[in-house]
């Protein structure tokens, strides 16, 4: 087998070349600005300033970094957990063919096909705390008496944006896990049933272990994507109210779009990548078994 490695490497090289040219090279250039005073507001001075951008981002008086960090963690893990659990549930429901399954999946999976900004726009209208659809429906059903400030009350704001992210993200897990589930051999279930396993036991002893590799790789990738997905929050709350939904990615976007401070934005992306990298290593070492590629 090893004798083909040089040839096979050639198949991989074009991809590596593209990624080096279009991701790694600009990444290095971008990260260098993290150590410079680099504000488009005034480019006459772009000297190197060491870790000042990091200090400024972490020590911001208006935007408590601790809170942003905590928000980021809630955003990632709450979104990921519910996207995954609901996506898995949907995949299980769709696993056996039924009449109209194709149409049904088209209708539940379309949310993935919307642009981030359109999602933010649409849902901030739905979640409006005065004349929004969600309040109107809940009030008509008699579930609440007065409108809820989904996006203006700090208690609900984070929950609301996570709900939207879950709404958007279920299809990814739904499709990936649905595919993976199809490959669980029936014999395994039969064997488990003969051994007297109930539904729950079969699920945890047969289904989950069989699709585990897909779970590991999809949750890992999804986590990275959620971390770098500021559009929904940016469109719905702008990180407010009072910093309640501000995450690292929105703060970075704000630095670029409104403050033109590329130095601090790069510093924040440095932190984003460091967090993701550390987390990935932890995650992989915790989930990996001896002989598997992640």
């Amino acid at each position: 087998m090893v004798r083909h490695d040089r040839l096979l490497l050639k198949y991989i090289l074009p991809v590596l070349a593209l990624l080096v040219a279009l991701v790694y090279f600009p990444l290095v250039k971008g990260l260098i600005t993290a150590f410079r005073h680099y504000n488009l507001f005034d480019l006459r001075d772009t000297s190197f300033i060491g870790f000042d951008n990091f200090k400024a981002a972490i020590g911001d008086k208006t935007f408590s970094f601790a809170q942003i960090f905590l928000n980021t963690m809630i955003w990632i893990f709450a979104s990921l957990l519910f996207q995954f659990v609901l996506g898995f549930a949907l995949a299980l429901l769709l696993r056996k063919p039924f009449k109209g399954r194709g149409l049904y999946s088209g209708l539940v999976f379309y949310t993935w096909a919307l642009s981030g900004f359109a999602i933010g726009l649409l849902w901030s209208w739905i979640f409006n705390g005065q004349f929004g659809l969600a309040n109107d429906i809940l009030m008509r059903l008699g579930i609440i008496d007065s409108p809820i400030g989904f996006l203006s009350d700090p208690r609900y704001a984070m929950v609301s944006v996570v709900v939207v992210n879950v709404w958007y993200g279920i299809p990814f897990f739904g499709i990936m896990l649905l595919a993976a589930l199809q490959s669980v051999p029936n014999e395994l279930y039969e064997a488990a049933t003969i051994d007297g396993a109930g539904r729950v036991t079969r699920f945890f002893k047969v289904t989950v272990p069989f699709v585990a590799p897909v779970i590991v790789s999809t949750t890992l990738l999804r986590m990275m994507w959620i971390m770098n997905f500021p559009e929904i929050i940016f469109g719905m709350t702008n990180g407010g109210p009072a910093n309640a939904t501000n995450i690292l990615a929105t703060q970075m976007l704000y630095k670029i779009y409104k403050e033109y401070d590329y130095g601090q934005a790069s510093a924040i992306s440095f932190m984003i990548m460091a967090i993701l990298f550390a987390y990935s290593l932890l995650y992989l070492s915790a989930t990996s078994r001896k002989e598997r590629d992640f």
């Binding site: 480019l43 705390g129 004349f131 203006s152 704001a157 709350t237 407010g240 109210p241 033109y260």
Partner: protein, 419 residues
């Protein structure tokens, strides 16, 4: 590997060949607008078509990036010396482009332009915003006025329009019936919300420096004056009494939605909002009146503007200037403003065309001519602290409205920021 490099080279060469195109003796100008909307783009294309008819050797390519990312794209293009000959510059971006030496000094051209003498004093002042040098020619002014739902107020028995902010606040309270979903004031809680609180707060302060709204004539920080602090409390109470608590998260779209659906009958907005409200509501249900004044007897009115400029590296500066002259002529400017909404820049337009002094535009006409009651002020857009200010103010104000900090603490934070 060699083969890969070769393929990449070929692809790039092909790209270059396609993107360059032939020039065949014609002058090709590139014009980038930033305050894009599909209707506005169509109007600009109309003006371009007229100009090209008069100047067959010139073609103008219009770039219309979506409004939300247009400034960013323009910045990026300028910093890379991308082909641009005419650019739309906003009050917010001017300083940055001047700092980075991306704008051509237009003083000589302005002096030689016959219609330049017709520009309003405020337009000339705006042209020279940066370093007192005319880098730009203002095209449109955005000045706030009070939009009023006459139908709703009439139903509540309010027929006399508020002349002071205190009267406005009292009216808002009178209209409000929270149980029925009726509120008074159309709050702005995010995205440039400071313009609304500053207006109400600082109109109570007697001696605002017109060159920097955050300073008084004697150099003190205006938001920390006793009058401004008292007005801040008033502003917070207005929110508690007459605004849906959701207002804290309202931007422009929510404001418009609240006004059109009738939730709040008082809205403070720019003239380009008129056409939208006309389309979605109808002129019979609302009107626009001059801004109320504060305890100082005046309203401090900030004026936003959009303008045209020429990149310093443009290769067709004369041709670009010729188009700018055409675009900024009293005739074109007035016609454009009529369709698009904002206020035109020539004195003769206001004198000749009743459109801009009657109907809803009467409100703006009053504000612009009544110097006893309206003080036009500038924001410190040139300060390096400026770019981060809007978000700082927004999050601090939201904390205040949520009761997380006191008005005194909020003022202290503002003062600390501008220290």
């Amino acid at each position: 590997m060699k083969r890969i490099v070769l393929v990449v080279m070929v692809v790039l060469a092909a790209t270059l060949a396609i993107s360059c195109g032939a020039s065949n003796g014609k002058v090709q100008l590139t014009f980038l607008e930033v305050l894009t909307s599909p209707e506005r783009t169509a109007m600009i294309n109309g003006i371009i078509a007229d100009y090209e008819k008069l100047h067959p050797n010139v073609t103008i390519n219009l770039i219309s990036p979506p409004y939300e990312s247009a400034d960013n794209k323009l910045t990026m293009m300028l910093n890379n010396d991308e082909k641009l000959d005419i650019i739309e510059v906003r009050d917010y971006t001017l300083r940055q482009f001047v700092n980075n030496k991306k704008l051509e000094n237009l003083e000589k051209r302005l002096a030689a332009w016959s219609e330049g003498k017709d520009l309003l004093p405020i337009a000339l002042a705006s042209a020279r915003t940066a370093d007192n040098i005319a880098y730009i020619i203002p095209q449109f002014f955005y000045i706030k006025a009070l939009f009023v739902r006459t139908d709703i107020l009439a139903a509540k028995g309010i027929t006399v329009m508020p002349k002071t902010f205190d009267e406005l606040i009292a009216d808002c309270k009178k209209v409000t019936n929270k149980k029925k979903g009726q509120f008074g004031f159309d709050w702005r809680g995010k995205s440039s919300e400071f313009k609304f609180s500053d207006l109400i707060q600082l109109s109570d302060v007697p001696n605002i420096d017109p060159n920097n709204i955050y300073k008084t004539a004697d150099g003190a920080f205006s938001l920390a004056t006793p009058e401004a602090q008292a007005a801040l409390v008033k502003y917070v109470n207005l929110f508690k009494d007459s605004v849906p608590s959701d207002g804290i998260n309202w931007g422009f779209n929510e404001q418009v939605n609240a006004f059109i659906s009738g939730v709040t009958p008082f809205l403070i907005q720019d003239p380009d909002t008129v056409s939208l409200v006309d389309k979605q509501l109808g002129r019979d249900k609302y009107t626009v009146i001059p801004l109320p004044v504060g305890k100082s007897g005046k309203a401090v009115v900030d004026y936003g503007f959009a303008s045209l400029g020429i990149p310093s590296y443009s290769k067709h500066k004369d041709a670009a200037w010729d188009f700018i002259k055409f675009f900024s002529s009293a005739k074109e400017n007035a016609a454009f403003c009529k369709q698009y909404g904002p206020l035109p820049v020539h004195a003769s337009t206001y004198a000749d065309d009743p459109f801009f002094s009657t109907g809803v535009y009467q409100a703006w006409r009053t504000e612009m001519s009544d110097q006893d009651h309206y003080l036009f002020v500038k924001y410190p857009l040139g300060s390096e602290k400026w770019p981060a200010w809007p978000q700082t103010h927004e999050q601090t104000m939201q904390s205040l409205l949520l009761g997380k900090i006191s008005p005194t603490e909020a003022t202290a934070k503002f003062a600390d920021y501008w220290k």
